[in-house]
């Protein structure tokens, strides 16, 4: 949670700065199969976030000692491009934040990908944040899910992710960057729609147990919209192929 210094009013006349209601998502656009070389890919715009996700594999695991004779291993790299934020130039390469995010996203896909189908191989997930405006891990994970499905990799479920949190007394969905910086709590979640299990959960700031429950409900509600957009993006790829 950002500094209390110069904290802007995030809620004016009962509305958020960009005019959204507390439980309202930013506009989301997803396109699948956007990169030629990758086995699967997706481009996603979520508010001002612009994100590319690509999947390579299953392919032979490298280095060889990492290979698991019983299942595929999953690797994940989440990275913010040096030009992705409004402020200063970022250093390239994974920093501590990106390393942690890559780890928790990898663990989500280890749950849903049916890795036993591909012993000895690896599946690489690359998430590049080209432009970041808050909620990039949720948006990146949502895009990666579509890229995996586009790569034809069997999964138990098409996971989506979204963040909820608190501004003052209001439980609020899907922070943009300015809300993210000055909110009172932020809680990114990834959810499996078939049973509403939380596969990614991080939180910091301050929440009561009632606010936690409300935030999860909000995320699951928004998940219907996000899931529909994910499925629609995948359908469009194959409908286009058939019509050609």
């Amino acid at each position: 949670m950002g500094s209390s210094l110069n904290k802007p009013e995030l809620i004016v006349n009962g509305k958020r700065l960009d005019g959204r209601d507390f439980g309202e998502l930013r506009p989301i656009k997803i396109e699948a199969g956007v990169l030629k070389n990758a086995d699967g890919s997706a481009y996603l715009e979520w508010g001002n976030n612009k994100i590319l996700a690509a999947v390579y594999g299953p392919r032979e695991a490298t280095p060889k000692h990492l290979a698991d004779p019983g299942k595929a291993i999953i690797k994940c790299r989440y990275q913010m491009a040096p030009f992705s934020s409004l402020g200063e130039h970022n250093r390239t390469g994974p920093n501590r934040r990106a390393t942690e995010i890559s780890k928790v996203i990898r663990e989500v896909f280890e749950n849903v990908v049916i890795t036993s189908d591909f012993p000895g191989s690896e599946i690489d997930i690359f998430i590049e944040i080209l432009q970041g405006d808050g909620g990039t891990r949720a948006a990146g994970l949502t895009a990666a899910s579509v890229a995996l499905a586009n790569a034809g990799i069997k999964m138990k479920d098409l996971v989506y992710a979204v963040s909820a949190g608190r501004i003052g007394d209001h439980v609020t969905l899907d922070f943009d960057m300015i809300e993210d910086n000055y909110s009172d709590a932020d809680m990114p979640m990834a959810i499996a729609p078939r049973n509403n299990e939380l596969l990614l959960l991080q939180m910091d700031g301050g929440l009561t147990i009632e606010q936690f429950d409300e935030a999860v409900k909000m995320a699951i509600g928004a998940g219907k919209t996000i899931s529909a957009l994910q499925r629609d993006a995948l359908k469009r790829v194959y409908e286009t192929k058939v019509s050609q």
């Binding site: 949670m1 950002g2 500094s3 210094l5 501590r96 934040r97 390393t99 942690e100 890559s102 780890k103 928790v104 663990e107 989500v108 280890e110 749950n111 709590a185 809680m187 499996a192 049973n195 509403n196 299990e197 939380l198 596969l199 990614l200 959960l201 991080q202 939180m203 910091d204 700031g205 301050g206 929440l207 009561t208 147990i209 936690f212 429950d213 999860v216 409900k217 699951i220």
Partner: protein, 261 residues
Amino acid sequence: MSALDIVRVGYVKELLAKGQREDSRGMLDFRNISIKTGIIDHAEGSAQVDLGNTRVLAGVKMVVEEPKPDTPNQGNLVMSAELLPLANADYETGPPSPASIELARVVDRGIRAGNCLDLEGMFIEEGKAWSAYVDLYILNYDGNLFDACELAAMAALASAKMPGYKDGAADYTKREKPAKINSIVTSTTFGKIDNKVALDMTGAEESAADGRLTIETDGKIIRAMQKGLSGGFSAEEINGLIQESFKKHAELRKRIEESIR
């Protein structure tokens, strides 16, 4: 993992399926906790925590630095964790692993979100503020590093004494006021093993676990959470574990406070 470890993990799984644990604890019990502060005289604050056979040492150094540009009127908190090769046969030397980065960042988030260390009080003068460097040294691994490190970091900070300040620099010959602590955050980490939930997992239990959930609280509200490993939790399960975490807070907090006196 050695052959013996594999056997132990299998044994632990069989026990947990029956709601039992290798050390006869209840599913929601902590192992024995020992917290000792003032272990390292050269550090401004330090604490060694033994949680069963897990042992971690936290050291705090206070350093005069320029405040960060986005918080020009505050001091700074820098947390890092080292999974030392002497702590476990599977730990290797080299740059920080994702596991050690996650550990340090999760402990950092709870303490930062709880405003435990009074960062505003660590401002000295224009362009000068104290930075608290907290290093978490893992000395022996037997599971649940998150809770052990949270206790160690909190106790080390709460027992830290600030060095003197003279001519724009720290004067380490003096130890004056205690570091100002606003609140005490504690954490509880639950594991999910074949749909059984257990608090404070041993190393073998962690090897068998599908999912992990850390909840950090100041006793009033949730300050930070982190779900780890691939297994999931339902919202109802998490709600129950949050309540359990609130219950455990009072005892953990008391242990930290006792270690400082």
